[in-house]
Symmetry: C2
Subunit: 204 residues, 2 copies
């Protein structure tokens, strides 16, 4: 029991965890633009504490979203094990888009922390997805001119929905994904119902 996990004092360790939890909450709710002061306030600590644990805002963002990144990776890995190539492909797109629609900060965190520490993760993800695409094409269920780059296209498009209230964003995302999957495939399915989006909603 010398250093169960780190040499942080017990109270400090607890504070750190609470900050991280609050950060995840607020980032998901309001995006990564929430002020550090807001996170500190809701966590019941001063800003200094926050900066002592996370030297920069970006490092906090990075740490806060690590589990989401891991989740994505897991989704892809699991999909590769699926016996039905199309179902694997579809599941990846659906899950990632759902995550994106649910967690407001996800995309921004993804891109803002991407170039740095995660290049290996990125490569692994990319390879995994490329393999998934290949499999799905070979099985004849995915159109031949689909490009792995289209994943980015989907992600970018789906990120455009981030502005609307969460439940709407989720519904809208589902419909968008359904449309796109239909275009990607060679069959036809029923779409989820239309979402009564209004342009007034786009900014907060």
């Amino acid at each position: 029991m010398t250093a169960s996990q780190s040499q942080l004092r017990a109270d400090a360790q607890e504070n750190r965890a609470r900050v991280l939890a609050v950060a995840r909450e607020l980032f998901a709710e309001r995006g990564i633009d929430v002020p550090m002061a807001a996170i500190a306030r809701r966590a019941g600590v001063g800003v200094a504490t926050l900066y002592r644990r996370f030297p920069t805002k970006e490092s906090l963002v990075m740490e806060a979203f690590t589990e989401q990144f891991a989740h994505c990776q897991a989704v892809i890995d699991k999909a590769l094990l699926d016996e039905d190539p199309w179902r694997g492909f579809r599941t990846v797109i659906e899950n990632v888009c759902l995550l994106q629609a649910t967690d407001r900060g996800f995309t921004a965190a993804f891109v803002s922390t991407f170039p740095e520490l995660h290049s290996e993760v990125r490569d692994r993800t990319w390879e995994g997805f490329a393999a998934l695409v290949e499999r799905a094409k070979e099985s004849g269920q995915l159109r031949a001119d689909f490009s792995p780059h289209d994943l980015t296209l989907v992600l970018l498009a789906n990120s455009g929905l981030a502005g609307v209230p969460v439940e709407m964003a989720v519904a809208a995302s589902q419909r968008l994904v359904a449309y796109l999957l239909e275009a990607f495939r060679t069959g036809t399915d029923a779409l989820p119902p239309p979402v009564p989006l209004s342009l007034d909603l786009v900014l907060c």
Copy 2:
């Protein structure tokens, strides 16, 4: 020749025009978040001049994008006159998405100035598009479960591409639109080529 267009002094009139031109440029290039000071600087005037002509930033945005709004309206009106319902429908979506991909500030301007002065324009646009949808459905070329709200969905999705460099955004937008139109229709077309988007590009 008493007051050819306004009672502004000649030099003031020229300054105003230059400010407006510069604003359009910068808004298109960098989005509506460009500082007023940047616009003033590039236009070769002081900020005061800028605020004298446009009491608030929003009014400048509004005025700068009026022609784009009008363009949208014109596109819809013209499409309603098209003898081929599907082509009209498709053209509207393609044109508006192209505008959106080309002009970085467009979407933000659209939504940020929408609630106020343009509600009548909005309604007219909406009605026009709804009619377009109806026509295209009746002709059997547009799927029956397409909702006019899906226009907003398309616009939101397409706005997600705003972050990447313009040429890429245009290409990406074209591919996205092609995918979506394919899903909206009942036929099949060749897609434009894949765009080698990388996630690193998303933020500037």
